[in-house]
């Protein structure tokens, strides 16, 4: 039990003041590529006020409808992204994970994968979940590779789910079961 479950090799998962995270989100959201890699909803610009309200509304509840963390670098304590877990945790033990690294200079360097490994440990060791799911888009190979590295398995695809840049793109379904994660974690 003598370990910090929020601590990874490159990052730690942290509580963030709603206003701090909201201001970081508005900064990241200026980059439409970040938003298109992150989300299926139309890329849009939200005020820090609006994002703060959303975060506060959800985090007021106990237990919260989702578990939300900031991703901070171990070196320099820089807020580079966020991750969250939501879904039918009770009674079926399934959760849906969302993750975004907003600072471009931290893309492709293992920060997202490291944060995902930490959030998976939280999901399986603290929330005692049975599986974790996620969706991504076929035009996001960097994310797909990262999720594969974290242990996610391909489960299917919704053909032509998204329409962007005059073309339809598949939504990729991935998931990891508790047993699969245990084998990986214990070697």
């Amino acid at each position: 039990m003598d370990m910090d479950i929020f601590l990874g090799k490159l990052v730690r998962l942290t509580a963030e003041e709603p206003k701090v995270l909201a201001e970081a989100c508005t900064r990241w959201n200026r980059d439409s590529e970040y938003l298109r890699l992150l989300d299926a909803t139309p890329t849009n610009q939200m005020s820090a006020k609006k994002i703060t309200e959303w975060i506060e509304k959800d985090q007021e509840k106990d237990p919260p409808p989702f578990y939300l963390f900031g991703i901070r670098t171990l070196v320099g304590d820089r807020l580079v992204g966020f991750t969250d877990l939501e879904g039918v945790m009770f009674p079926s033990g399934d959760a849906f994970v969302g993750i975004g690294v907003g600072e471009r200079e931290f893309w492709g360097k293992g920060y997202g994968t490291d944060a995902m490994l930490v959030v998976l440990r939280f999901a399986f060791q603290e929330l005692n979940l049975r599986r974790v799911s996620l969706n991504t888009f076929e035009y996001n190979p960097r994310a797909i590779r990262s999720y594969e590295k974290a242990g996610f398995v391909h489960e299917g695809r919704a053909r032509g789910f998204l329409h962007r840049e005059g073309q339809r793109w598949d939504l990729i379904y991935m998931g990891i079961l508790r047993e699969e994660w245990l084998v990986r974690d214990t070697g």
């Binding site: 599986r131 919704a158 329409h163």
Partner: protein, 187 residues
Amino acid sequence: MLKGKLVRLAAVDAKELADVIVKWNRDSEYQRLAMIEPANQYSVKKLAEWGEKDQEKDPPEFYYFAIRDLENDRLLGSCGLGGDIFPNGEAFVGIGIGNRQDWNKGYGTDAMKVLLRYAFEELNVRRVALSALENNARGIRSYEKAGFLYEGKSRGTIQRAGRRWDDVFMGILRDEWLAKEHEISSH
């Protein structure tokens, strides 16, 4: 357009529908086939509130219909379309036939065909998606008959009756639906 061979899709009267859903929900099998949430008993008041809330917005978040028997106008079930209809042209279907004695008689498949026509011809969506639990073999067969193709599954999404069950993902593209319609009309 809203009329099939056995059923028609009609406006939802929230109170009327709530009165019958309470009866359908007494059968836990109906709830377990229709939903991944735990089977539960809700009052007419609560169900009517939910039904009304959905329909208050314009355009509604959810295109929701009552399924009525053509022969005697009996309320058999409900169905609807939600999801990323704008701007991605992707709709997600929900459908349920409430009474056991109305199962396996083609009402659901007929209602689905009408709903697909509404989705592709009126809402101009590019694909329609659904998910079904693996224990719902009757539902999956019906969706295949209506033209849906298997696209993947979330392995062991729910835990029920001492084991885990997959959630099966299916979808139909506009082109596939058009080809099927053409095939029918040319015979």
